[in-house]
Symmetry: C2
Subunit: 223 residues, 2 copies
């Protein structure tokens, strides 16, 4: 049986990956990261879904490093979350410097300590435009380094790397993912705002594939 | 002028690297990491030396992840620090899972946020036997990933990668490094124990090059 540490945000991509890996009989430990994101609500979503599935879950408190990797509107309350399409140039303000490598390195360390085979994360093709650390070329380089950093090599599993978010929505519905429990919005308000890049991307994913998104948005102007 | 984030333990290697980079006119920020090491005394040494040099210094509190990367005698008080030669098989218990990649990833994130050119760390040839994350093959892979993880690429500077600890001692003495202020011992007692792998390696470095180590050890059986 394969074993892995899953980097788990509580959003729709990593929740689908969680269901997918369980479907593949992975023995999993899920790690969520509190890096000072304003949408820390996602951490509660992650915890609730792991409880439902009886998957061990831990929130890693990285707030001690939030100030070191500043300059992103995801962590700095002084910077507004941009609205608009997620591929827009103005979305680059949502990049948290080296966030993925930091999360991966800790997850790899944990996998080594547990003697697990792999670390999984839900990088997908839709992220490439904005997020340099979701690109296949970054993932390939991380695979190299994860195989060299310890006497116990760790694999990096990114089964969604060639899929777009619509493919993930479709797969998730097939796997019975409770999308109504996931959290996507970069604003951490009561409901999903529907206008930030993350909400726009989520809406587009369901819409393009003719699927229904069970969450409720603040506005109803876009279906 | 080059700018860099230095991973700075307060030991003799990274202190020599600090002096070396200042000698090369680097504009530096030094980061030390508290990952729950029993020799946290090194953090005070690092702070004191940075104050002396007027180099900005910050201790990053990673104690929230100590439990995730367990199994090392450097962080687990239940596991004794092994005595003997630093290349011995029994020294592998001092490896902290993926410690260097974790420190590097945070330092890279900080370098991106500061728009600095490079991250420097004092990997050297003597570490290769025990520590997989000091090997040139690991460093090369980290260089790749550090150039890809953000739109602002970061270089990894490891100028000591082909030197041994004796070469570093020699260089440090030329550069005026105050070795009496550095901390090396894996046990965090009042004085250096002289018997753990780290002390043995330090003693050997000075001894082989016919140099005097200004620190005092608990025992005096080895010169």
């Amino acid at each position: 049986m394969n074993s892995g540490v899953l980097i788990y945000s509580g959003g729709m991509d990593s929740t689908t990956l969680l269901y997918y890996l369980l479907h593949q009989n992975y023995h999993l430990k899920a790690l969520s990261f509190n890096y000072g994101q304003r949408h820390a609500k996602e951490l509660a979503a992650a915890a609730a879904i792991c409880r439902k599935l009886d998957v061990p879950h831990q929130v890693v408190d990285l707030t001690a490093i939030t100030g070191l990797i500043g300059g992103s509107s995801l962590t700095d309350p002084a910077l507004p979350v941009p609205e608009g399409h997620y591929t827009g140039e103005n979305m680059k303000i949502t990049v948290v410097p080296n966030r993925n490598m930091i999360m991966l390195s800790i997850a790899i360390g944990h996998a080594i300590a547990l003697k697990y085979d792999a670390v999984a994360y839900a990088a997908h093709s839709g992220d490439h435009t904005i997020y340099p650390d979701c690109r296949p070329v970054f993932v390939e380089a991380m695979k190299q380094v994860a195989g060299l950093c310890d006497w116990h090599p760790v694999k990096i599993a990114t089964p969604f790397i060639k899929m777009d978010k619509g493919d993930i929505a479709e797969l998730g519905l097939q796997l019975g993912v409770p999308f109504e429990l996931t959290w996507t919005c970069y604003n951490g308000r009561d409901r999903h705002c529907g206008k930030c890049g993350a909400c726009q991307e989520r809406r587009e994913a369901f819409f393009k594939h003719g699927l229904a998104d069970p969450i409720q948005y603040e506005d109803f102007g876009f279906k």
